[in-house]
C-alpha cells in the first residue's frame, strides 16, 4: 500500500522535474499529494537519494542560530554546492532539509516561489465555504486550536474586535476547531494521497460513495484514472481554479523524451517507468469488450494516454494561462515595465478565455479530440470492470519489458497526445492567418460596404445587437452567418462534440465580412467581442487575431 503511491509519486516527480522543468518544493508536494509537509520533506529527500542519476539541483533549507554576535536565527535557502558553507556558519545542530528539487537552479529565486504560489492561489480561489489545506493549515507540524474560521466575519462584526463575532459556528468550520488535532486526517490522507488530492475538501466528507471503488483499484491504475476526473472542471468553480493541474499532467509527452534519451533503467525510478510501460503494453493482451470498439491507437495506450489527452485538451488553454501568471510574477522582480506587459495579458484573461472557447469550437475535430469523449461515456462502467480483470494479468507480465516493446509504446505515446496539441495549434495558426488575410481586403475599404445593425432576442432572452459590415450583394449571406456564429457561441459548451465541426465551418466564412457583434450585454462571449468591436474600429483586428 505504501509502495505504490510513493513510487508513483517518484515517477510523476521525475517527469515533472526533468521534462516540465518544474520546481518541486516540499510544500508543493505536500499539498499536491495531501501529505503533511514533514513527510513531504522526507519523501523528497528519498527521491533525491534514490535518483542520483538524474543529476538534479537540490535547494536546501538550512536554519539555525548564527555564530555571530548578537546571534540571530537564520533561515537560508542554499544550493547543494554551498550547503556545507552555510551549515558551518551556524551553531551546532542546524536544521537542514530539502526545500526543492529542480533540473537547474533558477536565475531568479522567485521562480522557486511561483510554482507554490500558483498552487496556493488555486486553493485560495476555491469557493469560500470550502475548507482546504491552505485554509486550515492541516499539513503543518504546528497546530493551533484557537483558530476559528467563519464566513460570517466577512459580512458582520468589526475586524478589530474579534470577540464580537465569536462562535456563530458555521457547519463548515471544519476539523481544525476540534480540541484534538485531527491527526487521523493527515494519516488518512497520506494513505490515499491521490484520492485526497482529487477533492481538496475537508478529509471528513471526503470518500464519497463513488470513491471506494476507485481506491480499491490497484493504486497505479487508480492514479491514472483519477487524473482526468481531476481535470474536468467541477460545476461551480472557475476554470482557473483547477487550471494548474493540467499543467502538471501535460508533460506526459515529455516523460517519453526523458526515458528515451536517458538510460532506461537504473535505480528504482527507472523501474517505475518500465513498470508503467510494461503495464500499458500488457493491456492489449487483455481484450476488454467495450474498448474493442475504439480506434486501435486508443487501445494501445488506453489507460494512461487517454487520460493525458483529456488532460491536454482541458489544459490547452489553462496551461498557458497559469504559466503566464506565474511568469508575470516572477518577472516582476526584474523590472516594472515588463510586468505591465505581462499584466496586459492577464487582464485579458477573460477575453482570452472566451476567444479560446470559440477557437476550440472552430477547430475541426481531429480523431484524437473525439476519442476522450467517447471514452468518457464509457469510462466509469468500463474501467471498474476492466480493472478487476487487469489485476491478474499484471503479475504474469515480466516487470521489465524488452526494450523494443518499451520503445514502441513510447512511440505510440508520442504520436497520440502530441499531434492533438500541435495539430490544433497549427490550425489555430492557420486560421489566424486566414482570418487576417480574409478580413484585410474588407477592412481596407472594399468597393461597397454597408453597416447593418441587427437586433434580436436570443434564446436566453438577452437583447443582442450585431453590427455587421457587409459588402453589397453578400448581405443576406453574411447576415445569416453571423447569426449562426452568435448562436454557436452561446450554445458552445453543450454541442461541443457534434456541432463543433459545422460551427467551425460556419465561423470561418463569418470572418470574411468584417463582422463582429458589437453589443451583447450580459453574454460573456459578447462582452469581450463587444469591447473590441464597439469602442475602436481598429481593435476588431485583435478579435480576429486571437482566433
Amino acid at each position: 500500500m505504501g509502495e505504490s503511491p510513493s513510487s508513483q509519486v517518484f515517477f510523476e516527480l521525475e517527469g515533472l522535474i526533468s521534462d516540465a522543468l518544474q520546481v518541486i518544493s516540499y510544500k508543493w508536494l505536500s499539498r499536491k499529494f495531501s501529505i503533511s509537509s514533514n513527510i513531504a520533506k522526507r519523501l523528497l529527500e528519498r527521491f533525491v537519494t534514490q535518483n542520483p542519476q538524474l543529476d538534479l539541483e537540490i535547494v536546501y533549507a538550512v536554519s539555525g542560530y548564527s555564530k555571530t554576535d548578537p546571534e540571530y536565527y537564520s533561515i537560508q535557502l542554499v544550493p547543494k554546492s554551498r550547503l556545507e558553507g552555510a551549515r558551518a556558519a551556524l551553531k551546532e545542530n542546524p536544521s537542514v532539509h530539502v526545500y526543492s528539487v529542480q533540473r537547474c537552479l533558477p536565475k531568479d529565486p522567485a521562480q522557486l516561489w511561483s510554482a507554490d504560489f500558483v498552487q496556493s492561489l488555486e486553493l485560495f480561489n476555491e469557493p469560500p465555504d470550502v475548507s482546504n489545506c491552505l485554509r486550515d493549515n492541516r499539513f503543518s507540524a504546528v497546530a493551533c486550536d484557537a483558530i476559528q474560521r467563519s464566513l460570517a466575519r466577512r459580512s458582520s462584526g468589526s475586524t478589530s474586535s474579534p470577540q464580537a463575532s465569536a462562535p456563530d459556528i458555521k457547519p463548515h468550520v471544519g476539523p481544525h476547531t476540534h480540541p484534538a488535532r485531527p491527526v487521523s486526517d493527515v494519516r488518512q490522507s497520506s494513505l490515499f494521497p491521490k484520492h485526497a488530492g482529487v477533492d481538496m475538501k475537508p478529509v471528513k466528507h471526503e470518500i464519497p460513495a463513488a470513491s471506494p471503488a476507485q481506491v480499491n483499484l490497484p493504486p497505479k491504475e487508480a492514479c491514472s484514472d483519477i487524473k482526468p476526473i481531476k481535470n474536468e472542471p467541477p460545476p461551480g468553480s472557475e476554470p482557473n481554479v483547477n487550471a494548474p493541474k493540467p499543467s502538471i499532467l501535460s508533460p506526459a509527452t515529455g516523460k517519453r523524451k526523458a526515458s528515451g534519451s536517458g538510460p532506461p533503467s537504473g535505480g528504482n525510478g527507472g523501474g517505475a517507468i518500465s513498470n508503467l510501460w510494461g503495464k500499458a503494453a500488457s493491456k492489449p493482451k487483455v481484450p476488454s469488450p467495450p474498448r474493442a470498439t475504439e480506434p486501435p491507437p486508443a487501445v494501445m495506450v488506453a489507460g494512461v494516454a487517454e487520460a493525458r489527452i483529456q488532460a491536454m485538451e482541458a489544459g490547452v488553454y489553462s496551461d498557458e494561462d497559469v504559466e503566464q501568471h506565474a511568469l508575470s510574477r516572477t518577472r516582476k522582480s526584474t523590472g516594472r515595465r515588463r510586468m505591465i506587459v505581462e499584466d496586459d495579458d492577464s487582464g485579458n484573461e477573460e477575453a482570452a478565455e472566451d476567444e479560446e472557447m470559440i477557437v476550440r469550437l472552430a477547430t475541426p475535430d481531429s480523431p484524437q479530440d473525439i476519442k476522450p469523449q467517447v471514452c468518457n461515456g464509457q469510462t466509469i462502467p468500463t474501467r471498474i470492470g476492466s480493472k478487476r480483470s487487469e489485476v491478474h494479468p499484471k503479475p504474469t507480465t515480466p516487470e521489465l519489458e524488452p526494450p523494443s516493446n518499451i520503445l514502441q509504446d513510447k512511440n505510440t505515446m508520442s504520436h497520440n497526445p502530441q499531434p492533438a496539441k500541435s495539430v490544433k495549434k497549427e490550425e489555430e495558426a492557420d486560421e489566424k492567418s486566414n482570418s487576417i488575410a480574409r478580413e484585410s481586403p474588407g477592412s481596407r475599404g472594399g468597393p461597397k460596404r454597408k453597416k447593418v445593425m441587427h437586433t434580436r432576442i436570443d434564446e436566453k432572452g438577452r437583447e443582442v445587437t450585431e453590427v455587421v459590415w457587409v459588402t453589397e450583394g453578400e448581405e443576406s449571406v453574411a447576415n445569416d452567418q453571423t447569426r449562426q456564429l452568435a448562436t454557436a457561441k452561446h450554445a458552445a459548451p453543450t454541442n461541443k462534440e457534434s456541432d463543433s465541426k459545422t460551427s467551425a465551418e460556419r465561423s470561418r466564412p463569418a470572418a470574411k465580412p468584417n463582422a463582429a457583434p458589437s453589443k451583447a450585454p450580459a453574454a460573456k462571449g459578447g462582452k469581450s467581442t463587444g469591447k473590441s468591436g464597439g469602442k475602436h474600429q481598429g481593435s476588431i483586428m485583435s478579435f480576429f487575431k486571437k482566433q
Binding site: 510513493s6 513510487s7 537564520s74 522567485a110 493551533c144 474560521r149 466577512r154 474579534p162 523590472g335 503479475p395
Partner: protein
Amino acid sequence: MFSLIIAVLRILKLSGFEAGGFVQLFGVLDEMEEMDIDVIQRVQATYVSHNEKFELKKQKYKGQQYSQLYFFRLTLTRKFLNPRVQERWPSYPVTNILGLEEGKVCVVIGTLYKQMKLKPNILDEYSKERSVVGLVAPSNFTDADDYLILEDESGRVKLVGDCVTPSVYVTGVVVAVCGQAGKDGEFHVDEILEPGLAPQPAIPEKKSDGDKYVALVSGLMCGGSDTNPLQVQLLVDHLTGHLGEVQEQSLSAQIVHIVIAGDSVQLQAQALHGQPLSSKEQHKLIEPVKELDLVLTQLASAMPVDIMPGAKDPANFSLPQQPLHKCLFPGATTYSTFVAATNPHQFELDGVMVLGTSGQNIDDLGKYSLADDPLDLMERTLRWRQIAPTAPDTLGCYPFHDRDPFLIEQTSPHIYFCGNQDKFSTRLLRDKSIFTGSKGEAVRLVCIPRFAETGTAVLVSLKTLECQCLTLSTSLLEIQSPDDM
C-alpha cells in the same frame, strides 16, 4: 471500507506484485507517519486590544482646529508633571507665562515650539520672490540657529540658557522649565524637566516554563517590483510551522502572535491617474493586495495576526491610521485570528503591554531633531509620554477635540516597537532614575527593519523581553560563482 482496501492490497501482495520493494517501502512510509503524528501545539496567550483611543468611531469633524488637541496635551501632561515638579523643586512656585516676574526663580509648565529656519513652509511655494532655500529638500531640517519657545494658555516666551538643547526637542513636547525671566522677555532656563516614563505594571509571573514570543515584522511590500516573494513565503512557512525540522518547528510553535507593522503592500500607484480605471488597470492595482491576502490567510490559519496600516498602505494618511478595511482581505478576514489594527497599536499579551507604530512618528522626529539612533528617538517619546509629539505640526493627525490619543497616560508599555526602520536595533530601557515607580521596570525598544530589504523579522520574548532576529535569506541562490556551477 478500510478492510476492503486492505483486502485488495493483500491480494496484490500475495500475487507477488513487486513484493520486495513493497514491504520495504511500506515500512518506510509507515515510519514516516509514525514520526509525524506528534504535531506540536502552538502556545497561546491571552490577547487584549487597547486600541479604543486610536479609533475614530465616535469622532465627528465639525471644522475644529488643532487647538483642542494641544490643550488636552498640556493639561493632561501637566497632571503628570506636577508631582515631579513638587518633588524636584519644592521651594519654587509654579506660575504661568503671563505671571513671570523678572529676576524671580520659578517653574513654568508649557508646550515647546521649535523655531526652525529650514522647516518647510507651504507658503514658500506661493511666495512671489524666489526663496533662498535650496531646491534640494534636505532630509533633516535642524539647524544651529533653531531655538525653543515655551507656550502655555497665557502666552509664550523664548527659552535661552546652556541647558536648552533645541536639537533634541521638537514642537509639541510638554515640559517644565525652572529658571528666571530675563530683561528682554527671554527666559533663562536652569533646568528642563520632562514628564518621564509612565509607571509600569509588573509582568505577571507565569508558572509555565516554556517561553512565548511575539513576532514583529514590517515592510513586507507584497507585490513590489523589487520584492522577493520567496523571502516572504519563507517567513510564512516558518511561522506557520512548515519549514525546518522538529527543533525549528518547536521554535515557531512558541510564537503566539505576529504583528505586521505597516507597509505591507506596494501598490502600483502610477496606475492611478485620476481617470476611470480600465479593468486591466484595476487588476494591476489589486494584485498586490491579493497577494498580501494570500499571505495573511496562510498566517491567520496558523496563528493570531495583527496587521497595522503604514505610510504606503491603502489607508488614511493622518494618524491615528484606521484599520485596513476588511474587504481588502476577503480570505484572511474569515479567521478569528485576524485583526486589522489601528496604526499606533496597543495591545496586551499575557499581561505584557505592547505599543508600537508603523514608524511615521519616529521618521518625523528624525527630520526635526537630531539623534544617533532611532532608538534614542523612541526613548525620548517615552520620556515625553507622547508617542507622536510632532503630530499636528508636521505629522498628519486627526483634530481630536476630546483627547490626545498619543499621550501615554496610564502605563508604559513593556514592548515598544517602531516599524519600517533601516536596520534592526533594540535596547532595553532600564534606567531606574527615569522610571518614576518601583524598580524592575523595563521597556524593550525595538526598531523593526523593513522586511523587503533585510529579510528580518523580530521575535520578542514575553517572558524575559529578550529580543532576537529571524533572518530569512535566499541570497545564496542568486550569486553563482563559476566554481559552483
